[in-house]
Every structure is written in structure tokens, then in C-alpha cells.
């Protein structure tokens, strides 16, 4: 291979690498299905809580939380607070130091940027234009029911 062709090949490889990096890392893109809960966090001076669906579904089927534990399919719709968690409800069924880390590890869950609204990240409703795009009051209230969608700030 001549020096000229080598230079062209190296330049091509480098520019492809730069393109690949700028393609993936340039944009802010959390994982699909990441739920942010900010019902009370901002007001309490805590970072909003992040619930990563991807992490949990590796370990638990949907029915564990959405049937056994009664989580509605609606971001922010369960009105979870720390009292309920310490009482063993919702997240507290596992986050009790037995199945998963316990409540004194505040920063592990309360890990979103301050001011991030309650939402399902990358959800269709988010992509269609944020909380305003969602139907008002469409959430079902029966146990295990409801919808998993962005709701905006409460």
C-alpha cells in the first residue's frame, strides 16, 4: 500500500471514529424506560429519584412490582414517600437491606439532576411533546392498572 493510500485510510478510520462518538455521546439520552419521580424530592431539597426499569427487569418480572406490590403503571402515580418505603411498601418491599440496599443509601436512588420533572424517559408521550401531550386524568386507579407515561410535575 502506498503512503498516500495509507494516509487516506487512516484519515477515514479517524473520521469514522469521531463521527461514531459524536453520534452517541453528544446527545443526552438516558435509558429507555427510566422513571423519574419528583413528587416531593425538589421541595424536600433532595435530588429526584430515578427508577431504572432496565436494571430491575433483569432481576424481576414486571408482575413482581406491578402485581405483587401494587405499583400502578403511572410515573409519579403511586404517591410513594419515604414513610411508606420504611414501612415496607412499594420500593420498601425490597429496599430494606435484605433484598436490596436499604433507605439510608439516599443518593443511590435520589440521583437525578435537581429539577428533573416526573416522567418516563424516552416514552412516546415525552417524545410527542412532554407532559402536556398526555391525556388529562386518563390514569386508571385500580391496583395494577393505570398507564406508564409522562405526567409532568405534580
Amino acid at each position: 500500500m502506498s503512503t498516500g493510500w495509507k494516509a487516506v485510510a487512516i484519515a477515514a478510520v479517524l473520521s469514522a471514529g469521531v463521527l461514531a462518538l459524536s453520534d452517541g455521546l453528544g446527545e443526552a439520552r438516558a435509558e429507555y424506560g427510566d422513571v423519574v419521580m419528583n413528587n416531593y424530592s425538589d421541595a424536600a431539597g433532595m435530588r429526584p429519584a430515578v427508577f431504572p426499569h432496565w436494571f430491575h427487569r433483569v432481576r424481576f418480572r414486571c408482575k413482581v412490582c406491578h402485581s405483587d406490590l401494587g405499583f400502578k403503571f403511572k410515573a409519579g402515580g403511586n404517591e410513594i414517600n419515604m414513610l411508606k418505603i420504611i414501612d415496607g411498601q412499594f420500593c420498601g418491599a425490597c429496599h430494606n437491606g435484605s433484598v436490596a440496599w436499604s433507605v439510608e443509601n439516599c443518593d443511590l436512588c435520589h440521583s437525578a439532576k435537581p429539577g428533573t420533572p416526573t416522567q418516563v424517559h424516552e416514552s412516546t408521550i415525552n417524545l410527542l411533546g412532554g407532559a402536556e401531550a398526555g391525556p388529562a386524568g386518563a390514569a386508571a386507579t385500580s391496583p395494577g392498572g393505570g398507564r406508564a407515561s409522562a405526567t409532568g410535575k405534580k
Binding site: 446527545e27 424506560g33 431504572p52 427487569r57 402485581s67 443509601n105 391525556p135 386508571a140
Partner: protein, 171 residues
Amino acid sequence: MVLIAEAPIAAETVRRWLPLAQDGLHDPANPALRLLQEPSVALSRLPSDRVGNQVNWVAALEGGHINPRTNILPESRVRMIDLDILLNLRGGTPIVRFPHRQHTLWLDCSNCHEHLFKSKAGANKFSMERILKGEQCGVCHGAVSFPLTACERCHNTPRNKPPPAAAVRGS
């Protein structure tokens, strides 16, 4: 409406997951961030997909790549059903063959029935507008299970072929 065939994922497709500190959602100033599992660590070992988390979650479960727990309450009855329902029988897009089996691998009957969907074939009126707004199938598809841009995964049965005998005809 023109459906574009989904390109199969090439074996050499490189999947990338943003580090938590760079994902735009997590606070990089949080010192505890380094203790959390990075998506790339968990997800890079699972079967590929081009959408969502870039993981084919049903294939991950069926292939034994993951073995998520079915219940946390010991008294819970783990219910599964293998029954396909044909939907969208009079629409313009391909017929929807809805597989109960893959859904009940993850979910319990009560997650959808009866408040989201009536169990009686033909009793449900489906609407893509409602689904796109996060209702009906859109409760999960478009939020956590594969997104609504993957039209052909639900609209998966050509209209000109006789429907499979094993399936129940819905609406």
C-alpha cells in the same frame, strides 16, 4: 400508510449505552453515581435489539440470559397462558397477532384485564391515537416495552394470508 420493513440487526452492529454520568438524567455531582451499575455492564451481554434499551427482552428471558423472579410474595399464583389473539381485522395495516405467552412471561393477567382490555374477543375497540397517548397497549409499549415506532412487530400478520387456526379472532 406505508410500513417500512425492519432491517435485521447485523451481527457487527455496535451497541453503545451512555455512562450514567453523561446520560443527561443523572446528576454527575452525585458521589454515589459510581456505585450504580452502568447500563453497558448489564445490557451488553443480552440479545440485541435496535430499539428501546437495545435489548430484546423476550429473547433474553426465553434464551435463559436472565432469570428474573416471578414473585416476591410467596402466596402469589404465577399465571401464564399460551393463546394468540388476532386484532385489527378490518384495518388497513397488517393484522395484529397478539401473543399472550410472551406477555404473561412478564405480566400477570390482572395487569391488563379487565380494566384495560375486556377478555371477550371483539369487545375491545383499539385506537392508535389512544395507544400513542399512553393508553391501551401504549401503557407499556412506548414507555418500557418495545416502542411504537416498531410498527411491524405488532402489525405482524399479512392480511392476504389465511389467519392461523390456533389464534382467536378479536376485533
